[in-house]
């Protein structure tokens, strides 16, 4: 079984994608480490699946190892930029391939939450929602609370602002939909 944790992932990078040159391998490893969080964010934003980050980084490293073999003089920063670019492109490709129909909640859930839910119930739902948010969505929530615009957030993450916004609301709507469903089940009982 392939290792799924971060340390295991790093070990796998250095063993599988070795360029045969120690200096290039070092650069490649440093670039991979710098790009890992970006791969996770791309997997969440474009594919709604954090586990795909491993596939994204694998694909990018394969590409980068060929690149560094051809141009061993390239700096770590340039290599990192290339890896990030490959990750972003691959994530967009996979998102297009798997189709745009991602499972999420309904807009009705948002409207229902805002209009029909009593204050106390709203607070309970909101607490449940905040507890279940993924670390990425929670970070976005914090940055938005701090007053940063979607464009400013996306610029810092080197992503498209509409993709980040869409991913954030997709997760919230999906969670809200699940919460309202479990609420219905409770009512039925």
């Amino acid at each position: 079984m392939p290792p799924t944790d971060r340390v295991g992932q790093e070990l796998r990078w250095s063993s599988v994608y070795s360029t045969g040159n120690a200096a290039s391998d070092e650069k490649l490893e440093a670039a991979c480490k710098a790009s890992w969080s970006y791969a996770s964010f791309c997997a969440w934003t474009y594919l709604n699946d954090i586990d795909t980050a491993h596939d994204l980084i694998d694909h990018a490293i394969e590409n980068a190892s060929r690149y560094i073999s051809r141009h061993p003089e390239r700096s770590v920063d340039k290599l990192t930029a290339r890896i990030k670019s490959v990750i972003r492109r691959r994530a967009k490709q996979l998102a297009a391939k798997t189709g745009r129909e991602l499972s999420s909640g309904l807009l009705v859930d948002l409207e229902h939450f805002l209009i029909a839910t009593p204050d106390l119930e709203q607070r309970t739902y909101a607490n449940e929602l905040l507890d279940r948010l993924s670390p990425f969505a929670l970070s976005v929530l914090k940055w938005r609370w701090l007053g940063y615009s979607w464009r400013e957030i996306a610029k810092q993450l080197e992503m498209d602002h509409t993709a980040v916004r869409r991913a954030y609301f997709r997760e919230i709507e999906s969670l809200l939909h699940n919460l309202s469903r479990s609420g219905d089940l409770l009512e039925c009982d």
């Binding site: 309904l106 948002l110 914090k142 938005r144 609370w145 701090l146 810092q156 709507e173």
Partner: protein
Amino acid sequence: MRLSWRQSSRSQDRFEKEIAQHYQRRVLAGDVVSTGPCPDEDFLRRLAKHSKRLELTDPKVDHAASCPLCVKRLLALRKEYRQRCRIWIVVGVIAGLLLVGVTFFFVIWH
């Protein structure tokens, strides 16, 4: 299912505000875990002004948005910053009106 984002943006914005308020309440009640030491006053001031030079992925930003003490200070600084902005707007409008008045006066006079 496909969502129409243009039509939905208003309800999404409203919802986002609601969630942000709930989040703020939770932080102030001490229900959110914050890690690391509190950042200094200068950092909080820059954060309150939405400085573009700050790295959002900096752990200090995460702490400032999760610590009740920092959040209280941030809210106070934001209020202060908004008031200062309002004062500058009023001063600007008065200066503009004065300039128009003086120009008009000189045009009529000559």
